[in-house]
């Protein structure tokens, strides 16, 4: 079985890898690029723990093949902070204890950042529906939603 050479951009860095066409983008990020921030919680697009953006679009990296990433711009949780400065969402998640075990946190942060970029002023209901594809089993979502809503408010005030 021949492998494919993929050239892509991840968090602004040009990267290359060889992959089997059956391997998902998530497999490639984790196993070939050592970017283990995105997690595999289900492998079927139902839990959102593998969330990344591809050309600005929020997707599950388990539902995209590694070969499809060729020429794309990919952003993962590892690219959310600017250097050592955390994104406001990251700070707010820590402050609000919006994570317990933390396994869903990378996916939720990527998804929440994508929400606030598209809709800086979401209602609670909009935030809940946007994040419905990101399962969290620990928190009951309460503190996550509060962190997202408060970050949105602060970002609006700052701009």
């Amino acid at each position: 079985m021949s492998k494919f050479h993929v050239s892509t951009t991840v968090n602004g860095d040009a990267v290359d890898y060889l992959c089997d066409p059956r391997e998902t983008l998530l497999d490639c990020l984790r196993d070939k690029l050592n970017l283990t921030g995105a997690k595999e919680g289900c492998g079927t697009g139902d839990c959102g723990a593998c969330s990344v953006t591809v050309d600005g679009r929020l997707v599950c990296s388990c539902l995209m093949l590694g070969v499809e990433a060729d020429g794309k711009q990919i952003e993962t949780v590892e690219g959310i902070a600017e250097g050592d400065v955390l994104h406001p969402l990251q700070k707010k998640f820590i402050e609000h204890a919006a994570l317990q075990c933390g396994i869903c946190t990378p996916g939720i942060l990527v998804a929440a950042k994508s929400l606030l970029e598209k809709n800086p002023n979401p209602t609670e209901e909009e935030a809940r529906y946007w994040l419905a594809g990101n399962l969290c089993r620990c928190t009951g979502y309460d503190k996550i939603i509060r962190a997202v809503m408060e970050t949105a408010e602060e970002l609006r005030e700052a701009s």
């Binding site: 697009g45 139902d46 594809g133």
Partner: protein, 288 residues
Amino acid sequence: MDYHSPASFAEASALAANATGITRFLAGGTDVLVQLRSELVTPDTLIDIKKIDGVRDINSNADGSWTLGVAATGADMSEHLELGRDWPGVVEAMDLIGSTQVQGRATLTGNLCNGSPAADSVPAMVAAGVTVTVTGPDGDREVAVEDIPTGPGRTSLAKGELISAVHIPARGDNGGDAYLRFIPRTEMDIAVVGVGVSLRLDGDTVTEARVSLGAVAPTVLLVEDCAKAIIGSALDDVSLDALAAAASAACNPIDDKRGTIEFRTEVAGVLAKRAAKIAYARAKGEEA
């Protein structure tokens, strides 16, 4: 597994026609990858059609109709305000599929070709009278959406054939559509029952209607008796009850992990009424 990313539909069709074993086309991949990962279906040949020019376009035509590329995603559709104004039911049906993340990849064509009787966008497309262009070794043909699925997981597409465009008719005046589905949660489920309704009014009276049911039979159904129940009415209680009865009568569901025969039959009627009311309000230009 061989992976190809052809530059044209003709090339894609030729690849599929000459392939041996199992062939799958890759658009959004939200079903193909799940089947691949669970080893339910491991294609021998995977043909990615996203490198073909224009496949993500959403174009309005001069006659008011719409042509959608086969890789236009749910998110692309939801963000297209004009399309949403014309066909809110179709756009909402597509938007109900999966999560925000799935919306970033999933397509109308993929939802249709997966052949699931519970596919959300299909009843909405059937109600709307959507057709597709099928490209094959012998050229192109136009096919109504309701003629594509032939049973769970099966379609009428022959070897070497694939869908190359989606056509949504012109909305025209005084028309409205809606799609409702039943799921146990608020998101992330497969429809237990789905109902699509498209209708047109003359004043308060329904003059045209198409009603389609999902997840209650081996394929999505276009139910003429439902349409008859409301055509000529102002969607009064009597006609709504007749609509519900016709919808329930058309059901031929199964008992499975998602719902019982009794439940699906009952709820099909409930949702038919609710969807018809929304479509009616939209046709009248009211918020719904």
